[in-house]
Assembly symmetry: C2
Homo-oligomer: 413 residues x 2
């Protein structure tokens, strides 16, 4: 399969020396440093590492790799991914009202940012893992607390985290009946769209240049209807977040493309925010809420790992091949402490990469990547560069390869 | 099960004689003439009768009772129902552009209206049975044609038909893929909510006092999301139409109540617009589009008729018992020419009533009905009247029993 043309640029780069003169008839080394496409993964496993902590007494629900393995895991992570999702589940982030986990999470976010990784916060409003103390409040007080929480956190992290899953799973929010929580009450009493507006207004007003997402697992027409209503109500969303946890089996190209086409219709970028493929038994199809599947042991198997690698490669080819998709975040680097105990990681619990890791790395850093390449400039200092959209260097000086066909780079001294 | 209290009124009626004097210490006969609650059925089977036509060469898809049986059937129909749905499927109503079936349908509508029946037109916009000639038009031309169609028909029928299913099945409309049609293109290109707005604006501006419905079969959160978006966009809808074709089995009270509660949340009246229960085999559960089930013969069976009667009674008790429900329309009086050939009628193909007919008649005209009752007025002409909300007579003079506890009736000369 050829590189998707909409992801490529064929540019002519004019190279100037440090004095601004064309660098004629000279060998230069061009190499890619970063993809414009966001290849993401959760960064939950490295919060403790970034904060130089020991293992938590109680492992988190998602991304609970132990501290001992985190350094080696980080190398694998950083070799493939350029975008990290960090957890802002209100019930964990501010378990006690007024005591948010800001310092620790800011350290983790900076750890990623310093390594050239775009960081996203997930989520600012959700009915699950919701702050338990909201239950004691009136609906108006819940709205005020939600508004204040968003304004505080978006402000505290601005410049480090400028991408947010603002509100999560709004389709089900008002009718969610698995546990009492303040957000369901808010969405039931006020409606979905006013709840979305509250959350987006708070985030937008606090960080006008942030990339703000609506995110959902519901790929049915319900989510289309919600998006239409939100857009008609004049609420600006910057990208549509589509979850794709496939614990119950790979969607396949046809279904995936149909979903992408349906949601691309709104003219907004699509972010595949939560992608999972297991390398072991599939979760039975009859289970509706994935959280209901509790098994004592869910091992990764050799056959499962081959299947996962094949499906993952096909899935990423589909996503990267669709012009509306701007980001694809995989949900988990390792099986160690993975959500639901599922073998959904790209790395085994023992720290060795699975075939799926190798497959994805090969796509991201080989097939879709321009390795250091020596090129000779023309007599006017020009050299053609073809590659995946992203950040490059020529002899160490950075430039962006975009759809602009002419680029001028002045080498640093 | 007691009469639902929200459907009852306990009033004191002051009866005046023709000269305006209290009719003291006199026996009067009070009787109910009509329910405020709309007990509806389709009126498709009586269009030919009203127009004194012979049988159509090609029977329609819904409600194709033969003309010979229609008179007897009409007696059964009129004995129970006070609300009729008439077909305005664009592809049938205006098969050739510019030649709408107005005269014939107006005759049918008047036939019902003269018999005290509220008439509803169904639907003004839908992707199925859509005008085939829309396919030759551009999207803008489709929009103009849809707008003009609504304005023309709502105007032509105003005063006879003042209730409309304005737009049908919008949840699926833009992604409907069973047959090419102009409405799907319109809804895909412009979005659901602008399409709803177009249809409602045309109808509202033409007949501001009409009762305008959004109608759908999709009882999922998708329809909730659509309704929220429509209301947030400032489009006024007068009632929410909920289909309930139960060819695949009775929903049961719990599911029905959950649906009613979810849609009642918007504070709008609910109209159960299309209710079906079969008195034969159930349609297999795996069939998603009911139209896909084509069987050579689908007989009504004795066991099926007992089940249908039981379920129908339970269903109507649930609907009438829920304060948000204002109308319940059954979809078919007879098995003769019924949709899909299903034994969904209340009357067998041979014209004899099924147990379900008797059960519904017993509810509507007996348990929930005040038969002629002799009452004696007080010395000041007052008499207490308790009954189901609706239209009554006292000694032949009409009055409305509403939640107002005091009513004054002046007898006609």
């Amino acid at each position: 399969m050829p590189l998707p043309q909409h992801r490529r640029a064929d540019a002519v780069v004019t190279i100037l020396d440090a004095h601004g003169r064309p660098l004629a008839d000279t060998d230069v080394v061009v190499e890619q440093r970063r993809h414009a496409f966001l290849f993401g993964n959760i960064g939950f496993d490295f919060i403790a590492l970034a904060n130089q902590e020991g293992d938590a007494a109680e492992p988190p629900a998602f991304g609970g790799a132990s501290v001992q393995t985190a350094t080696a895991l980080a190398d694998l992570w950083l070799d493939v991914f350029n975008s990290a999702t960090l957890p802002f589940y209100w019930g964990n982030f501010e378990r006690v009202r007024g005591r948010p986990d800001t310092t620790r999470m800011l350290t983790a976010a900076r750890w990623f940012a310093e390594r050239g990784v775009v960081v996203k916060g997930h989520p600012l409003a959700w009915h699950t893992v919701c702050a338990p103390w909201l239950l004691d409040l009136s609906t108006d007080e819940i709205a005020d607390a939600q508004d204040a929480r968003i304004r505080r956190d978006v402000a505290d992290f601005a410049g480090v985290i400028d991408t947010w899953d603002v509100i999560n799973e709004v389709v089900i929010m008002p009718v969610f009946d698995k546990e009492p929580n303040g957000l369901t009450r808010l969405a039931w009493d006020r409606g979905r769209i006013p709840t979305v507006r509250l959350a987006f207004d708070a985030a937008r007003q606090t960080n006008p240049s942030a990339t703000l997402l609506l995110n959902d697992f519901d790929m049915s027409t319900a989510y289309e209807c919600l998006i239409e209503g939100v857009l008609e109500a004049g609420i600006r969303i910057d990208a549509i977040g589509l979850q794709s946890h496939m614990h119950q089996g790979y969607w396949g190209e046809e279904k995936t493309l149909a979903i992408l086409d349906r949601f691309a219709r709104f003219g907004l970028p699509l972010h595949l925010t939560e992608t999972t493929l297991v390398s072991g038994d599939l979760m039975p199809a009859h289970i509706k809420d994935l959280n209901d599947h509790q098994v004592a042991s869910w091992p990764s198997t050799p056959e499962g790992e081959v299947r996962q690698a094949d499906e993952l490669e096909r899935h990423y080819r589909t996503l990267v091949g669709h012009p509306a998709v701007q980001a694809a975040t995989y949900w988990g680097i390792t099986d160690d402490g993975a959500w639901l105990g599922a073998p959904a990681g790209l790395v085994r619990a023992d720290g060795t990469p699975k075939p799926a890791y190798d497959a994805l790395r090969r796509l991201v850093k080989d097939e879709w990547w321009l390795a250091p390449t020596t090129l000779r400039t023309s007599s006017t200092g020009r050299v053609p560069v073809s590659g995946f959209l992203g950040t490059y260097t020529v002899d160490g000086t950075l430039f962006e390869l975009t759809h602009d066909s002419e680029v001028v780079v002045r080498l640093e001294g």
